[in-house]
């Protein structure tokens, strides 16, 4: 029993330590320019999402490519196809969000 209590305390402390981030939604913003799609992933207070997984899907939810954000939360890639692109940022621990770059915006950034 004591062992369980101790474990609970440890769990609580660990969760509390990551508390501030839990209150923050993760965001991804993307734009196309000169044939490249630039993505920026950030928390509301401006901190970059480092090492977040970026997944790019077309309108049929087919995974086109994936990558990892750098220390500034950035990840860019060549336009994989001119379509509505759903770009997902997965920062782990349930921190997930997506941004849809419309076909017209991709077209304009070719």
């Amino acid at each position: 029993m004591k062992y369980v209590n101790c474990l609970l305390v440890v769990l609580f402390v660990v969760l509390s330590a990551s508390g501030p981030a839990l209150a923050h939604k993760v965001n991804l913003f993307a734009y196309a320019q000169g044939g490249t799609i630039f993505t920026e992933s950030y928390f509301p207070d401006g901190r970059a999402v480092e090492g977040g997984k970026v997944l790019v899907y077309d309108r049929n939810d087919t995974l086109l490519l994936e990558g990892v954000t750098d220390t500034q939360g950035l990840f860019d890639f060549e336009i994989p196809e001119v379509d509505d692109l759903k770009i997902v940022i997965d920062a782990g621990m349930g921190h997930k969000n997506s941004f849809t770059l419309k076909k017209a915006e991709v077209e304009a950034g070719k």
């Binding site: 939604k25 965001n27 913003f29 734009y31 920026e40 950030y42 509301p44 207070d45 401006g46 969000n97 941004f99 849809t100």
Partner: protein, 268 residues
């Protein structure tokens, strides 16, 4: 009979005086079509710049501002050249007045603080000029950064409450600055914008003091007010400028106002 007629005339006269001369507060205003832009929203904002009595919905003639711009990511962009004149009036005004409007394309995440420095407005009723430095903040794509930055106007309100995502009933706290320094015990006037888009219940003030709420700041120029209805709220801190302007050959005082607008929504 005669006494009654006199009494009736007197009452009519009182009403006429009240109608002509209520306690009207002038407010500079910048009202954007949206205050929180998400990826699903229209990224083109319609931004309206006005000089009004917000509660009464009265417009006043507004000359082209001296300065109009936006502060984003620490950089100011001059938007004066994009302003186009438009006309507006309240239902009970029989004449239209000039206000200014622009379309602004949101391209990046972060907070956008729009600001205006108007041309001085001559107010004969108060025998002074009025200059209301006005600001409003629009948030884009979830990056909540920039709303507390100073624009560097002669006088301005610095929000201490994040100025978007506010519920009806929330407290708005801000600090009044004049030449960058807090104004102790500054008087702040607050009005509800009856013209708020979607406002179906026009507020009819039961007595004059309800038109303009008044709070005083503390020794650090910090004030607070809880907003009781959904829509746009204007906060205006007034000071007298150290400089004067000439009207018909006479030196006249200038009232400088620091105005800030925020929007509340009902919790439902």
């Amino acid at each position: 009979m005669r006494t009654k007629t006199i009494a009736a005339s007197f009452i009519v006269a009182v009403f006429m005086i009240l109608a002509v001369n209520p306690a009207l507060a002038h407010f500079g205003a910048i009202i954007p079509s949206d205050d929180i832009v998400t990826q699903d929203d229209d990224k083109t904002l319609d931004v309206q710049v006005k000089f009004i009595h917000p509660m009464e919905m009265h417009y006043m003639e507004m000359a082209k501002p001296k300065q109009f711009g936006v502060l984003h990511d620490g950089k100011k962009t001059d938007l004066l050249g994009t302003l186009a004149a438009a006309k507006g009036k309240s239902p009970d005004q029989d004449q239209s007045f000039t206000f200014w409007t622009t379309d602004y394309q949101i391209r990046r995440p972060g907070d956008y603080t729009f600001y205006v420095a108007p041309d001085p407005y001559w107010e004969p009723a108060e025998d002074l000029f009025i200059v209301h430095y006005t600001k409003v903040c629009v948030n884009a794509f979830g990056l909540e950064q920039g709303w507390d930055q100073h624009v560097g106007l002669e006088t301005e309100i610095i929000p201490f409450t994040r100025p978007y995502g506010l519920w009806t009933g929330n407290l708005f706290t801000g600090q009044v600055l004049l030449k960058g320094k807090p104004v102790p015990f500054a008087e702040v006037e607050i009005e509800y914008l009856n013209e708020t888009p979607g406002n179906i219940n026009i507020v009819l003030p039961p007595a004059d003091p309800y038109v303009t709420q008044v709070v005083k700041a503390d020794v650090n120029g910090v004030f607070s007010y809880a907003m009781p209805k959904a829509g746009w709220w204007g906060f205006s801190a007034l000071n007298e400028a150290e400089w004067t302007l000439t009207h018909e050959g006479q030196e006249k005082g200038v009232e400088i106002g620091a105005v800030y607008w925020v929007r509340t929504r009902d919790m439902k």
